[in-house]
Assembly symmetry: C2
Homo-oligomer: 701 residues x 2
């Protein structure tokens, strides 16, 4: 290894954390607004922290149980799992939880400040909101790179466990990250929609008071939900993709160098040459180095927005992504050439990067209120809510074409140029701009909260208009971010499934390798079951939202009556009780789907053998990817069809057309914010669980 080059990874990670710290203070020093605003902001933050605290209790129990189990499996001479996996698992969980915690603190601190900032100037509000999002982005990439790098250092250099075992242990880190992501995405998704739906059904629909009206007891829970779902959930989701893609690439490089002939994994390099050149480590470290350099591009991209003074918010965000992409491409090319002396792996990375952007743009097209699909849904409202729903289902189903084709082409290009190593690298490429793209995502809920606070604190129409502008752009970027999250989950899972196959072959005797043939009914059974799980998972999470929302509806109705909130301002609503209900229900309802995700691969692996498990992963990725795109884009398009009418088209607010699209939007809410995004986690988690437990499954079957 050229140690002086791979030092870029930890340096990048540390700089990311310092940059996050810098942004934190620069946001903190902004004025938090008047007393009312501060009060609201504190209530939101307290609610968010209450959720995290309760979630942590469940998490700690889960992490403890799993880490003890993993550790127990590592005891004894014939143990199949190394004790390091248990350690890596705990660290992965802690790192992911820490990023979520910081992101939430930041977002809930920035909301009032953003509202106050826009009072002054739109660009100031943008700068604050985006900075707070960038804190999350920087923490994710910083801790992600540092975590993987330190564990690698520990097990490979200090404990000298060899490259294969080291990368195997790293899967534990991914598993830890996945576990947190599971709870954050599923729990957060249930939380955010139950609060949202509950607040709307009683407040807007039954009582006829506006959205974000402070008399609504669920209004704070609703604001908290935006942070819980879109900041903590999205962050943990992408943290997982980020580290998984890096680890998968490292593992494939290690396998190429150590066991399997590299012809399959690195097509242009015979194994002998790889061993002779001592280059294995360069291949292993490349993804970490690219990730480290991606941090610098992300910082440059972030500064473009923060230092910008223009009024075109969407343009600023797009430019920052564009600039980060260009720099990442340049850095990636240089790093690849320097380390490997060839550019094919770089092109693979580029294929992933471009694929990710295409998926994001496709999502934007299919959900934006400025485009045909959402407008078509709005027009279908002329014949009532049923046609709105049908049209939305269609849009969602048709919108799967571009993401699927983009992933297929990215994978094929990467594979043809650079083998399986290239496929994994394409996922790294797609995620290399994460530092800035995540900032763009997390900016959304902050802007949304700022808009809510300006409404609740009665800051006047000018400020409200500006925060509305911020919020509108946030919705667009959120849609793109969702597409990006799904796409990266799919390609990361693909990288993991290939890693699964080759890893199995390092564990099995060479004369009986794992061959996953379609003419094997075990495998086919696995594919069927795997393809089914996303449907079941989506149904369970959707049902969970319904139950939790129902509890919220009851509570809001009760409080309206008890405190006579609608007719007198003598009493204040009890926001905390609503926050508590969302929290408790979300955590309770998350248990069954979560267990399903963790246990299914282990059970299928034992019953249907590693062959069936391979099929399970493939089936779940294919159907999960499709279902996630379908649900997310249907939901997004319904949402924006409503917004299209609200902005004055087809009769505007209050018309029958509007009512029909409100129904569409309500249907879309759990689709796009709970079930759809949760599927990202399902497919990655099942892959990483399979990798972690593979030695055990092989020993048992």
């Amino acid at each position: 290894m050229i140690i002086d080059v791979s030092i870029i990874a930890p340096i990048g990670g540390i700089i990311a954390l310092f940059f996050a710290l810098f942004l934190y203070f620069s946001v903190k020093k902004q004025s938090p607004g008047n007393e009312k605003m501060q009060e609201l902001s504190v209530a939101i933050r307290k609610g968010a922290m209450a959720f995290l605290k309760s979630e942590y209790k469940v998490l700690i129990a889960f992490v403890l149980v799993v880490s003890v189990l993993l550790f127990a499996a590592s005891i004894g001479d014939d143990s199949t799992i190394h004790w390091g996996t248990s350690l890596a698992f705990v660290i992965g969980a802690i790192f992911s939880a820490v990023t979520g915690n910081i992101g939430m603190r930041m977002a809930t601190m920035a909301n009032a400040r953003t509202a106050e900032g826009t009072k002054n100037k739109l660009s100031k509000g943008l700068s604050i909101a985006f900075s707070s999002g960038a804190v999350m982005g920087m923490c994710v990439v910083g801790l992600g790179v540092l975590g993987v790098f330190s564990l690698f250092l520990l097990f490979f250099y200090y404990l000298d466990l060899g490259i294969l075992l080291t990368t195997n242990i790293l899967f534990g880190f991914g598993f830890g990250a996945s576990s947190i992501a599971l709870f954050a995405r599923v729990g957060g998704g249930i939380y955010t929609k139950s609060a949202d739906v509950g607040a709307d059904l009683v407040g807007k629909v039954e009582a006829g008071i506006p959205e974000d009206d402070p008399r609504n007891p669920a209004v704070i829970a609703d604001q908290v939900g935006d942070n819980v779902g879109d900041v903590a959930g999205m962050g943990a989701d992408l943290f997982e993709s980020y580290v998984d893609s890096i680890i998968a690439t490292m593992a494939l490089a290690a396998i190429a160098g150590a066991v399997v002939t590299s012809g399959e994994i690195l097509p242009w390099l015979p194994k002998e040459e790889l061993l002779a050149s001592g280059d294995t480590l360069n291949f292993v470290m490349l993804p970490l180095i690219v990730a480290g350099m991606g941090i610098f591009s992300a910082i440059i991209g972030t500064l473009v927005v923060i230092l910008g003074k223009g009024k075109n918010i969407y343009g600023a965000l797009r430019n920052s992504l564009f600039i980060a992409t260009i720099f990442t491409a340049i850095f990636g090319g240089v790093a690849t050439w320097y380390l490997l002396g060839r550019l094919e792996p770089f092109y693979a990375m580029l294929a992933g990067l471009i694929g990710g952007i295409l998926i994001g743009l496709s999502t934007e097209y299919f959900t934006s209120e400025k485009r045909r699909p959402a407008q078509g849904i709005a027009e279908a409202s002329k014949t009532g809510p049923a046609t709105v729903i049908i049209q939305g289902l269609q849009v969602g189903m048709i919108s799967t074409i571009i993401p699927i084709i983009a992933v297929v082409i990215a994978m094929m290009v990467a594979y043809l140029l650079s083998g399986f190593y290239g496929v994994a690298l394409s996922a790294v490429g797609m995620l290399s701009i994460l530092g800035v793209s995540l900032a763009t995502d997390c900016y959304g809920p902050v802007a949304d909260n700022a808009q809510g606070i300006s409404e609740m604190a009665g800051m006047g129409s000018e400020v409200r208009e500006r925060t509305e502008q911020l919020d509108a752009v946030g919705n667009t970027t959120a849609a793109m971010g969702k597409g990006f999250a799904i796409g990266s989950a799919a390609i990361t899972s693909l990288a993991l499934i290939f890693t699964y196959i080759f890893t199995a072959n390092t564990l099995l005797p060479p004369e009986s390798p794992l061959v996953l043939k379609l003419s094997d009914p075990y495998l086919v059974s696995g594919i069927f079951i795997g393809a089914m799980l996303p449907f079941v998972f989506a149904a369970l999470t959707m049902g969970a939202v319904g139950k939790a929302a129902y509890a919220m509806v009851e509570e809001v109705r009760y409080q309206f009556k008890k405190f006579n909130l609608l007719k007198s301002d003598k009493n204040k609503p009890d926001y905390e009780r609503c926050v508590k209900i969302s929290t408790n229900r979300a955590l309770k309802e998350m248990i069954i789907p979560s267990l399903l995700a963790v246990i299914s691969p282990v059970v299928v692996g034992i019953v249907l053998r590693p062959e069936g498990l391979g099929g399970l992963l493939m089936g779940s990725i294919a159907s999960g990817f499709l279902l996630a795109v379908f649900l997310a884009n249907s939901g997004g398009a319904w949402d924006n069809a409503k917004k299209y009418i609200e902005s004055g088209n087809l009769g505007g607010k209050g018309s029958d057309a509007h009512k029909a699209t409100v129904i569409g939007d309500t249907v879309g809410d759990p689709c796009k914010d709970t079930s759809g995004p949760s599927l990202n986690i399902l497919i990655k988690l099942m892959s990483i669980v399979s990798l972690v437990f593979l030695p055990l499954i092989i020993a048992l079957t």
Copy 2:
């Protein structure tokens, strides 16, 4: 071959046709009712025939083009496709078209007679309606068995082409049947729902006149649609499954005997022994013989209903299925033992038979108004249409579990006991009771039409009540029939995909067989694209319904105004124009999805090689099966949630709850009657197209 035993197949086929003829006359001699009823019945029949005539024009063009292309590919010394394929294709298409035609004539003749029969006695009406359904059932199994048997006779005995080439040619028969099924299911599905939705939206919703009101110009088109979709569409769908499953089993037996070591296909019989015993033909003929014997069981089952005098309609239908199942099982066991001297293949058949019944029961559970799922949807109407939709989506997604697990278990049991031959046999087993189960399906639309005619002809409340009873049972059996159609499509497609793999190996040099490995990105790309196609296909067919329904809405509005239909009875509506609109739009809108289904496998096969094509088939089966179950069951459950409320629960007709479920039902209509069932065809058609063009694809790649 023991020629005196396999003669059972053609004998069964001929008896089926004679039995159909007998039933035809026994229905024909019934009174067709008064003048008004006859007039309506004639209008429906004319409409149905008009549709068929237009459809045939498109069909003939399609069949001509494809058969000429197939024939062209068979010219020359280095031709890859035998000319017989072209002939088999044409015959398959003609046979399927003939069954559809007979079924439609029968159903449209029986509707008024059923209504008139119930005037007399409920059991008389049941007998007439069921007899007319049985005509379709008998024609399907009779012509299916006869078609396959005669082609086998021609190519194997007379032209002596050898067993492998003969079964290859038989794929052409399946392709012909698939093509008709495609047009019948997709075109029929679009027709039936555009007429239904069009009639309801203007008639029931806008004008407030009851369903089946003769003033509604679309009312005849609506009745025609029931026949077009549920008789011709369902019949062609199952004709395809039936012959495909038989052909796949024959092909696998032929391959086991001729080329590949039989260990994989027939695990308990080493190839040498198979060759030595000269038993290959017994294995090849078994599915045909089982099918032939199944016809006798079906006749027995049919007589149970027709001769029954009881009032419990549902019980009679269930008993007939039950009795047919018992007889089929006994006959199948005897035949297997006699031909092969062992029972493992019989158990495989049994696994399929039981799996099919389980899928039917599961569908019934998830959609029946007497069960929790549909009632839960009805209860969700308390919080409005949005929760009705969400709940319905959930029910549909959860309902995928049993069908998937049933297919997986049936496949695994069949495989473990009897290899790939067993998997194909399990599909034959599932379909062996088709003669009677299809009668149960086709009875539904006849009862529905009878109900419509009794309404339109003002036959009084007693008759209406009885026809309503018939209709209600028809809805339950239709739901079960849909589940059965989907399940058989899935297991048939599985049999076809295994046939695809082994057939490829008979065409490729032994040193480079087709290995479909999950570690092959070509294959993985195929899986992704294959999994996507059902989503796209469903979106296209759903969109087609929307467009066609819109044209119908315009026409009905126009006629209401022009003829002043609502205020005076001076003018009569122009039913024919509505029929014409449904026909033309359905045929037009069917083109793009149909081309997608036929062309995709060929293009993917050439671009992504036979490996990618294998992936495409697997992906499309997995996701298509799930999506079909999801759409069909969501739709069925929404429908029955509405019916649950209409029968007086939760406020009954006209309540807000009812309105909310009407919206759910409207959303469900294209799901359950167009997009869902069309997916059955998509997955089978793509498999059979792949088999037919496989020699060409291998030559080109």
